[in-house]
Symmetry: C2
Subunit: 339 residues, 2 copies
């Protein structure tokens, strides 16, 4: 019986090193002028642009893609999840008007799968470029015995910078303010437990089931990557005063809309003002899901919300934002216009 080695204990160090070499050009493709090179590779270093900031505040977020990852099979699916991963974290910086600066990823699996992992990093790099942030580092962990076979966990961290004086101030929000929205691309990365239960367990559909209303396979519709809203939101905030904003994620459109206006005010959305993705109707019909449950789980077609004074609605609409509703005097009430 020979002596044990690290290699023999289930961790393939060589494969790990080849993977790191393969993703290096992807990582570099996200690097701009602020990157700082240092021979110690322990941490990612970046020089933030602080010129013009009176009181720089650092904003930090982290998130995963949830059980959406359970649906991914092909490398192309994991590339999409990489985009989702960046979107989930950088979109959360935007309600604070924080400009994305850097991103780190953590990928983990029970057995290193270079093809799928490289595809995920490719998607992360695409997402970082869309968000104008640098992928400054990350960790890829092979953990036998941790994950169920074939699963890959993806966790993302984003850091942004905002001037303290630029932080949105919800204090003057008032009845009659306009709620603006940006369309979602589909489910984004929330509500997948319910979606799977309805579509697969209840209705017996499969990822490969072609659904006419979806224009293709169910899997493609479910795995459509989350929209990255960095350009649209920061542009809006440069042009008008945004009183409050929300990335529509956990809690669904109803939960996020309610949190957006606080306890003293209410919100009324006009469902005719935005498109409900067809996948939602399929989930609802398949699982016999009540409308309130749908709205408390899914984004319902709106991925990002912002509240502006009535006079600021016109320039916002000129930038492509949808006027989707208004702030009401009915404290705590969310009226999504259904029933």
């Amino acid at each position: 019986m020979s002596g044990l080695s690290y290699q023999g204990s289930g961790v393939d160090v060589g494969a790990a090193e080849r993977f790191v070499s393969a993703i290096e050009p992807l990582v570099r493709s996200t690097h701009g002028a602020g990157m700082v090179d240092h021979p110690s590779r322990f941490a990612g270093l970046i020089r933030p642009e602080l010129a013009g900031l009176v009181e720089p505040v650092i904003a930090a977020t982290c998130d995963g893609v949830g059980t959406k990852t359970l649906l991914a099979r092909e490398p192309a699916d994991f590339q999409g999840l990489g985009i989702d991963l960046v979107a989930m974290s950088v979109n959360d910086l935007l309600p604070l008007r924080a400009r994305p600066l850097l991103f780190l990823d953590y990928l983990a699996t029970s057995r290193l799968d270079p093809q799928r992992l490289e595809a995920a990093v490719r998607g992360i790099a695409l997402g970082c470029r869309a968000a104008h942030c640098a992928l400054v580092g990350g960790e890829t962990a092979e953990m036998p015995g941790m994950y169920e076979e074939g699963r890959i966990e993806l966790v993302g961290f984003a850091v942004g910078i905002v001037d303290a004086g630029d932080l949105p101030d919800p204090t003057p929000m008032a009845r009659g303010d306009v709620v603006l929205g940006l369309p979602s691309t589909g489910l984004h990365a929330n509500g997948f437990s319910l979606a799977r239960a309805a579509l697969f367990d209840r209705a017996g559909l499969h990822l490969d089931t072609v659904v006419a209303e979806l224009g293709g396979a169910l899997g493609s519709a479910l795995l459509t990557p989350t929209a990255i809203y960095v350009d649209e939101v920061l542009e809006l905030m440069d042009v008008v005063t945004v009183k409050a904003a929300a990335h529509v994620t956990g809690g669904g459109l109803a939960g996020r809309a309610r949190a957006l206006v606080g306890d003293a005010l209410g919100i009324r959305l006009n469902p005719a003002s935005f498109r409900r993705p067809p996948i939602l109707d399929l989930i609802q019909a398949s699982g016999d899901v009540e409308e309130a449950e749908m709205a408390a789980t899914f984004n319902m077609g709106l991925g990002f919300l912002a509240v502006v004074a009535p006079g600021d609605a016109t320039p916002a609409v000129a930038l492509g934002w949808l006027p989707v509703g208004e702030v009401t005097a009915y404290g705590g009430q969310v009226d999504l216009g259904h029933g």
Copy 2:
């Protein structure tokens, strides 16, 4: 057959909310003067102390605790893993002389286990206080079907700040420079796949096996939390010029020592100058592991290394650092003094 709801699809929203309430005081215990409160809870906000910094550089790291988590059973174990999690990320900031500013955690499991998760967050808060950084946010994900039963994944993310002019500069490193070290507390969070293969698979030991040389149960020795070196390293760097430094993690003492001095120089360590944790001997004997494999996997008793000029060794030793070796002219050679 009733309609599906999010609750019914395997995600317990109420339990999640109770967990968030329970950890709030722990999170707050890490908050200092720089915290910025904003009604939008999407991102953690912190105002970095930039006074006196000519050219602030942001350093960012992320890491998990690897397969060490597979050994944790009791809440107390998870509290230790929380400390590990902070240590793995903040110690990686230190070779850059970056002062830890903020930390975020991502905890995920197949089924929410509030007791263990709360213990993990308690450990994270303890670690953050030791590292003088604020726990500004995090994500706890319940993902049925993702993790093997009972597993909890922990991922950490740290951000620090350093003045560009304070970044350690390895250029003047030369033969005869002194290598300083800080003792590890045990395995820290590396090499657990090999440790488990040797101790459990080969030798048939169990976590509860009492081992006289370890002064107690094997599980306690294995799960001892990683040391947090923030105070010791930043103090050293305030007092003397550190040319290069390394947190001893993946690649073990041999790998990290080699990377520390680069290709042009070598390094020789004196094994009599630091204590080898008894757990290492047990692993080596149990798995019949070659010494070179041990040194390429484990920290061997040194958790952190720093290189200083010979004249700076005395003040460093006065601060409690161990003089553990020297830089040699033998490029690429690492001599750990064994055989």
